[in-house]
């Protein structure tokens, strides 16, 4: 019997990272609700702290339930490994804190989740890192922004707020040419719709809070790495670390060096680790990832078509539609579907306050939940003009790419006809 087989995605979703344990044979992933782990003896403790042995010490650094979530996601992504974090924001920050030294530069796409823009613009600046934003669809803009101090490129595969698609392969080639990693926030696509490392990305980050967990019940994040990047010319990873007895992470741990540093230094020092209970809940989501996503994207495409044909809709931004400027890239990178987050603009009648119309539309919806999240099994809606961005003038709103007419939907897995009915009845009241 051949003992090797490259198992399929769906098999890995429910098995990877968890072999039933010797002691009890529990089939579900056990929740190891413990802060710390008993050493065999003093030598064992010393070798664990010295990283000369694998094993758990303290749940701020690693935990058996969290490890199942980490290996499972690494298997699904085809990554060399993973580090789970307390949220998606924490995952991004952990990557930045591990890679950057004061004086380094980051080139980032301007089409990012608003919270990421704030984190990069303000919090990263506090660390002494300079930031240049570029239009992610303009490869020459990426090229022009790179300087000798640039240490990484950062983008979302499916960008915010208009669903722009990054040409990963081209931007990854540019990063490789400059010997810097390309970091992709793949939250909206998940590894089921696209695996950015297959196209040259070095690091992916996720808010597992969204489609990975999928049920809107837990925060969590992930850092994954390809294991293919040569960090020997990258001082933050290759040089002796004063935080770990002058250990050279890349020299000692090779393709695990970056992730080891994220775990034993950044997670240890910032405490942004995932709790075992949340790891368990997120794993329940992972086990049905492909089933949910197939349904999410199927509903999303049909709703996008419905909206595009609706007389009260001015425009729809969804890369699954041929009208989207990056539709061809979506076909290449997201053949199963362009995600389940889309935005559209209400048509503005002369003399009408479209911000008010948006508010009215949201209030009329009966099935879509009005809240600030995406990636729930339930359909969600938000109108930035009357909520998250309400302080801004119409001009300021347009500068952020979210005009007063923009409504964002995250499509759930409900009955499609019911969702279409809900949207239609809300339109009729306008």
């Amino acid at each position: 019997m051949k003992t090797e087989r490259d198992f399929g995605f769906e098999t890995k979703m429910v098995h990877a990272g968890h072999i039933p344990d010797t002691q009890h044979g529990a089939r579900a992933v056990p929740i190891y609700q413990t802060s710390s782990y008993v050493f065999y003896d003093a030598d064992h403790a010393a070798e664990l702290f010295d990283l000369k042995q694998y094993g758990h010490i303290y749940s701020r650094i690693s935990n058996p339930t969290v490890a199942v979530f980490e290996e499972r996601m690494a298997a699904l992504e085809g990554a060399t490994g993973a580090v789970a974090t307390s949220s998606g924001m924490a995952a991004q920050l952990a990557v930045f804190m591990t890679l950057f030294e004061p004086g380094d530069e980051l080139v980032a796409s301007s089409h990012l989740y608003g919270g990421s823009i704030t984190q990069i613009t303000h919090t990263l600046k506090k660390l002494g890192v300079a930031i240049t934003y570029v239009d992610p669809t303009d490869i020459e803009a990426w090229q022009r922004a790179i300087t000798p101090k640039t240490r990484a490129l950062y983008a979302e595969l499916i960008g915010n707020p208009r669903g722009s698609i990054l040409d990963i392969e081209t931007v990854a080639a540019l990063a490789a040419h400059h010997h810097i990693p390309l970091i992709i926030d793949n939250t909206i696509a998940t590894p089921y719709l696209c695996r950015p490392m297959d196209f040259g990305a070095t690091i992916t980050v996720y808010s597992a809070t969204k489609f990975i967990g999928g049920h809107g019940n837990s925060l969590g994040g992930l850092v994954l790495e390809s294991g293919k990047f040569d960090y020997s010319g990258f001082p933050a990873i290759a040089d002796p670390s004063p935080k770990y007895h002058n250990l050279r992470f890349y020299d000692t741990f090779g393709h695990y060096g970056f992730l080891m540093k994220v775990r034993v230094e950044t997670l240890r020092d910032t405490g942004c680790s995932l709790s075992p209970m949340n790891a368990f809940l997120l794993l329940q989501g992972v086990e049905t990832l492909s089933l949910r996503l197939d349904r999410h994207v199927d509903n999303a495409l049909k709703i996008a078509r419905f909206l595009e044909a609706h007389p009260k809709v001015a425009w729809v931004a969804y890369a699954g539609l041929p009208s989207h400027p990056q539709h061809e890239l979506a076909k290449k990178y997201l053949p199963k579907g362009a995600g389940a987050v889309l935005s559209f603009g209400l048509k503005e009648k002369p003399g009408e306050d479209v911000r008010q119309t948006g508010k009215q539309f949201i209030e009329q919806l009966k099935l879509f939940s009005h809240l600030a999240n995406i990636g729930d099994v339930r359909s969600l809606v938000i109108h930035p003009g009357s909520t998250t961005h309400q302080q801004l003038t119409d001009e300021e709103l347009r500068d952020c790419g979210v005009g007063p007419e923009l409504i964002r939907l995250s499509i759930g897995i409900e009955n499609l006809e019911d969702l279409l009915w809900d949207l239609d009845q809300a339109f009729q009241t306008l």
């Binding site: 694998y54 758990h56 060399t80 000692t252 090779g254």
Partner: protein
């Protein structure tokens, strides 16, 4: 994750070898045979420096129950074990010769390993010497190249999994407990 009868993906990640070379020199069955059946490991090029990769590997393997014999002409003892200047001067039988030397120095070491009747030869991660590896294999030694013994042991014993890494191992079987 524990050892036992598991299915595993081929370990194509993180190697500079081509698929044909990987099939020969990174074969999971050969790796497991070496890990499960070796007792005495001669480590050629083991460093005296506590933060060098070879020192990590030696410390780990010793704690995992193997006997480590350092081969280093410039040291007296490492990890409390007597050092030998070369493989030929080791009086005891050797199961595995684990090589931490630059690729260009590997051929004579493999010749010594064959002469000393070692059962297996392992060229560590990023050390690639086709001629040396082929010589070992032709002489009937179990041969592995461009992988790390510590990482591979961790893959099958569960340690690598605990560190959040992708072991490529997948199984629904419960690992047997010794009662």
């Amino acid at each position: 994750m524990g050892s036992g009868s598991s299915f595993s993906n081929s370990i194509t990640l993180n190697s500079s070898l081509n698929p044909q070379q990987q099939a020969i020199y990174q074969n999971p069955e050969i790796i497991q045979k070496i890990i499960y059946h070796s007792r005495t490991i001669a480590m050629v090029g083991l460093s005296t420096e506590r933060q060098k990769a070879s020192y990590f590997v030696a410390t780990y393997l010793r704690s995992a129950g193997y006997r480590i014999i350092p081969v280093n002409p410039r040291a007296e003892t490492i990890l409390g074990e007597k050092c030998y200047p070369n493989l030929a001067s080791i009086p005891d039988p050797i199961d595995l010769v684990d090589i931490f030397r630059p690729a260009k120095d590997c051929l004579p070491i493999v010749q010594e390993a064959i002469a000393s009747k070692a059962k297996a030869v392992w060229l560590q991660l990023k050390i690639v010497n086709d001629e040396a590896a082929e010589l070992a294999r032709q002489a009937g030694l179990l041969t592995v190249m461009d992988l790390c013994v510590k990482m591979e042991h961790g893959r099958y014993s569960g340690g690598l999994h605990e560190a959040g890494m992708n072991t490529g191992i997948l199984s629904a079987k419960r690992v047997h407990r010794f009662i």
